[in-house]
């Protein structure tokens, strides 16, 4: 533990740079580690191996083994160690190889980290960051293809963010590191290699609890997060080109807290809404959205709230089956047309 540890803000290295999502995450960590010596990284293969998905590449060399710490395969142990260190005022960033393996540490996340603020009456905080990717699509099969975003977002005491592009990856991870509560940063396997413009300003954060209008439109609102936003944006272009439909895409960015206001403002304009997620929709993020939208926008809706997500099966290995199960762009497009009464109802 090291006092407040925060250095005076570095002079802004102004300017935009095009980089991948993984580079943007790395930039965020590097900036925050320079800014605050309480910040350290731990997880499986984050150091010598440069990260399973190369997000932490080069950080060991730059910051040394005390601040970039390889762990054994012991998720429950090192996620919990992150909780304890955070309670003493450290700012641990715990990388979990994928969201699937966070289940092994579920008890530390849900039963411990999420409880600390409330259960002890605000006497102690837990400024922990857990970074981990969700996602499917490379035939990784049932145990390695899951998106449990809704489970965590349904847990009071946690904050959950899920950037869909490099700029938000940098901005949200930095906001998470500076936040005084446990924040789960859900990254995404297919987006790691996607490129986008990122503002290098170390003081530019993406606020937690604020959605973004990722694309403006007037006929239909598509609400999504993480990779579903990438898909939604592609489908929106197709809808415009092939059906003359103007779709607005709301990228949630934060799942807990959830920015219902931005969603409702869009639905008030378009009167039709489709919610998309990569995970199973039953009891999921889109279920939550549907409940809130019907209440906030009851008088605005011209059609039932529709949703698309992963087919409700443990993801099979065979390519043909996997493709059929995923919330692919054809399924999103069909659902959008159904909401617009341009195709039969689902």
């Amino acid at each position: 533990m090291s006092g407040s540890g925060v250095a005076a803000p570095a002079p802004a290295r102004a300017g935009l740079e095009t980089m991948t999502y993984r580079e943007a995450l790395r930039l965020a960590m590097r900036q925050e580690m320079e800014r605050d010596e309480r910040v350290f990284v731990m997880g499986e293969e984050v150091g010598l191996f440069d990260g399973s998905y190369k997000v932490t590449a080069g950080l060991l060399e730059e910051f040394g083994p005390d601040r970039v710490r390889d762990t054994p395969i012991s998720e429950e142990g090192f996620v919990g160690a992150g909780v304890g260190a955070a309670m003493l005022g450290e700012r641990p960033i715990v990388e979990v190889m994928t969201l699937n393996f966070l289940l092994v540490a579920m008890d530390q996340v849900v039963n411990h980290a999420a409880k600390i603020g409330a259960m002890f009456g605000g006497e102690v905080r837990c400024p922990l960051v857990i970074r981990t990717p969700n996602g499917a699509g490379n035939q990784l099969t049932a145990q390695h293809s899951q998106s449990f975003d809704g489970w965590f977002a349904g847990t009071p005491g946690l904050k959950v963010v899920a950037p869909a592009n490099p700029a938000d990856a940098k901005g949200l991870l930095k906001a998470a590191i500076r936040d005084d509560d446990p924040v789960l940063v859900i990254e995404n396997l297919p987006i790691y290699k996607e490129k986008g413009e990122v503002d290098l300003d170390p003081e530019l954060l993406t606020p937690i609890g604020r959605a973004a209008v990722a694309r403006e439109g007037s006929d239909l609102t598509v609400v999504s997060h993480s990779f579903a936003t990438v898909r939604a944006l592609r489908v929106a272009e197709k809808l415009a080109a092939e059906h003359g439909v103007s779709a607005e895409v709301i990228d949630l960015r934060s799942l807990r807290p959830l920015d219902v206001e931005t969603v409702a403002a869009s639905v008030a304009k378009t009167n039709r809404v489709l919610c998309v997620e990569e995970g199973w929709p039953s009891y999921g993020v889109t279920a939550e959205l549907a409940a809130r939208i019907q209440r906030a926008c009851f008088d605005d809706l011209d059609a039932p709230v529709e949703r698309v997500g992963m087919a409700e099966v443990p993801l099979p290995y065979a390519k043909e089956l996997e493709l059929a199960a995923m919330p692919n762009e054809d399924r999103i497009e069909r659902a959008a047309l159904a909401v617009l009464d341009l195709a039969p109802a689902l």
Binding site: P72, I73, T141, Q143, S282, A311, E312, L321, A335
Partner: protein, 358 residues
């Protein structure tokens, strides 16, 4: 040896099972090489973990199983499936995601299985298979069966909580299980020394007052003898144990990893120069098997692997309209019936169209 079929050995010499075991080791090596080629040709997807270099540990341990013993493994398991007698065709077809794969194309490389041979998977979460194997051993006890479970795991799995909990359960309940630790010196890019406070993994058994033993995992006969002895103690005296076989994986963690970021080429070469296949071949020759007899195996095995690839290529894809096949037990349709109205993604429809059962 119980399961590996005796081939029509061209050799009259009595070399016990060694001839067939060598053949199996060679089959695994060639199978893995073919899998790597097919992965690079994009016919195999997902994660593909090869076991080249670990053949003696694999074949030695499986050789010690009786036909009705049970086998449970992690995800680096092509070799275990083959050694247990799963046909190369069915394993390769699984890797290709085809309908006649041993898990119907739904499991892939990490989730092989063959219940008819007592092989209960093929698990992808590190150490996740340990409590399951422990429960199988419990079931054997409840049935009064004189059978045992062999549970394979990697050196990386011993730092998970599930390891501790499983060993303790096996200890307090006197379960017939051997935890077979394939110590190939690394879990992904992390060496055993960097990951384990007690890198002599077999010694940890002592904390549960069970027998722990370490063998040269590249010495086929040593692995087989130790496994056989510990399995017998498990079967007959209900004594659980830990057996650690020290070996080396030649390839990267998976086909996607070059395997060079955390170890040197020299280190890999050093291990390759003491190749378990070459060592086993030498023993065969030293016991009088002529080189021609051994070469004959090699040609035969190559043809078998080629045939497996051809089988997988020809095999059909699983039917997409049976996406959910196997998910719920037959008879569950009625339970899902009333989920239909207003269901946009059709849990009920999936269950019905998927056809329950396998």
């Amino acid at each position: 040896m119980a399961v590996i079929d005796r081939t029509d050995s061209p050799v009259d010499l009595d070399v016990g099972d060694l001839y067939d075991q060598y053949r199996m080791m060679f089959l695994i090596r060639r199978f893995e090489e073919a899998a790597e080629r097919q992965y690079k040709a994009a016919r195999i997807g997902g994660y593909c973990h090869l076991s080249s270099g670990q053949e003696a540990a694999t074949v030695g341990a499986v050789s010690a199983l009786q036909p009705d013993d049970l086998l449970v493994t992690g995800y680096r398991s092509h070799g275990f499936a083959l050694a247990r007698g799963v046909p190369a065709d069915a394993v390769m077809a699984e890797l290709f995601g085809r309908a006649h794969g041993c898990a119907h194309g739904r499991g892939g490389s990490m989730h092989l299985l063959d219940v008819s041979r007592g092989y209960y998977g093929g698990w992808g979460i590190v150490a996740g298979q340990l409590p399951i194997a422990t429960g199988m051993a419990l079931s054997l006890v409840r049935r009064g069966a004189e059978q045992a479970v062999l549970c394979e795991l990697g050196d990386g799995a011993v730092n998970m909580g599930a390891w501790h909990e499983s060993l303790n359960l096996a200890g307090v309940w006197d379960l017939p299980i051997v935890f077979f630790v394939v110590n190939n010196l690394y879990g992904m890019g992390t060496s055993v020394e960097r990951a384990s406070a007690e890198p002599d993994i077999f010694k940890r058994a002592g904390a549960y007052r069970m027998e722990g033993e370490r063998v040269d995992g590249d010495d086929l006969e040593e692995v087989e003898a130790a496994t056989a002895r510990l399995l017998r103690a498990a079967r007959e005296d209900r004594r659980p144990a830990v057996l650690e076989a020290v070996t080396y994986r030649y390839r990267g963690h998976s086909v996607a990893d070059a395997g060079l970021a955390y170890r040197t080429r020299e280190e890999i070469e050093e291990h390759r120069s003491a190749d378990p296949l070459a060592r086993t071949r030498e023993i065969l020759e030293s016991r009088g098997v002529p080189p021609e007899g051994i070469d004959a195996i090699e040609a035969e095995v190559e043809a078998e692997v080629e045939a497996a690839v051809a089988f997988a290529e020809r095999d059909e894809a699983p039917a997409v309209d049976r996406l959910a096949a196997g998910m719920y037990a037959p008879g569950s349709e009625g339970q899902f019936e009333r989920m239909r109205p207003g269901s946009p993604f059709g849990e009920a429809e999936l269950v019905f169209a998927g056809g329950l059962g396998a």
